[in-house]
């Protein structure tokens, strides 16, 4: 089963990718696990674990590192927001 990933702002620029669809390995159960899986691709993906205060959203709701991820989810990673 797949998950849909989105990257925004400075992170999107560093990665050079805005969206992707990924086969979710069965052992990946949390946002933190997903970050490590992506960082294991090597540079520039290490930004997923080295970026200060990186935020995540699961299905368009702000999510902590321990939040569960499931097949079919939409997971986004981005720097702290700066609107207004």
């Amino acid at each position: 089963m797949h998950i849909h990933l989105l990257y925004f702002a400075g992170l999107r620029e560093v990665l050079g990718v805005a969206t992707e669809t990924l086969e979710l390995p069965a052992e990946i159960e949390t946002v933190a696990g997903l970050r490590e899986l992506l960082a294991a691709r090597g540079a520039p993906w290490t930004a997923l674990v080295t970026t200060k205060n990186l935020r995540a959203a699961v299905n368009q709701e702000m999510a902590g590192q321990d939040a569960r991820v499931h097949a079919g989810d939409e997971v986004a990673f981005f720097p702290p927001v700066t609107g207004g």
């Binding site: 702002a9 959203a57 368009q60 709701e61 981005f78 702290p80 927001v81 609107g83």
Partner: protein, 154 residues
Amino acid sequence: MSVTIQVADFDCGQEIAAMTKGRDDIGALASFIGLVRADTLGTENIDSMQLEHYPGMTEKALAEIVAAAEKRWMLQSVRVIHRVGKLLPGEQIVLVLVAASHRGAAFAACEFIMDFLKTRAPFWKKEVSEHYGQWVEARDKDEMALQRWQDAEK
């Protein structure tokens, strides 16, 4: 409640007219407008600000923020407009318009919505000058602004 994300500029006067049309129960109307401030990036003046957002989540996050304000105060109408795309110094970025029976609720809710918008709605700003581009960093001050709403709740 009405929330709009748009590229086009907005007219606060028109929005007020639309909000108050045909009503005589509104006693107070508070508005906040955020503008692009002229600034420098290194030795260069900023030419523009690039506003990016997370379509779908942005609208949801703003609706939740407004709903939280409506739960906390007796509000009669709320309008939020946030622009995205390329904005020039001096241009309007965001409008928050709150109508209530009395000014206390209108002022407080307007500020509450802006405080949460700045820290919870998925928008990102990039300052662009002739040779540079730099993503604006989140400020601790904005996160601290939320604290007083949470302290007041206790």
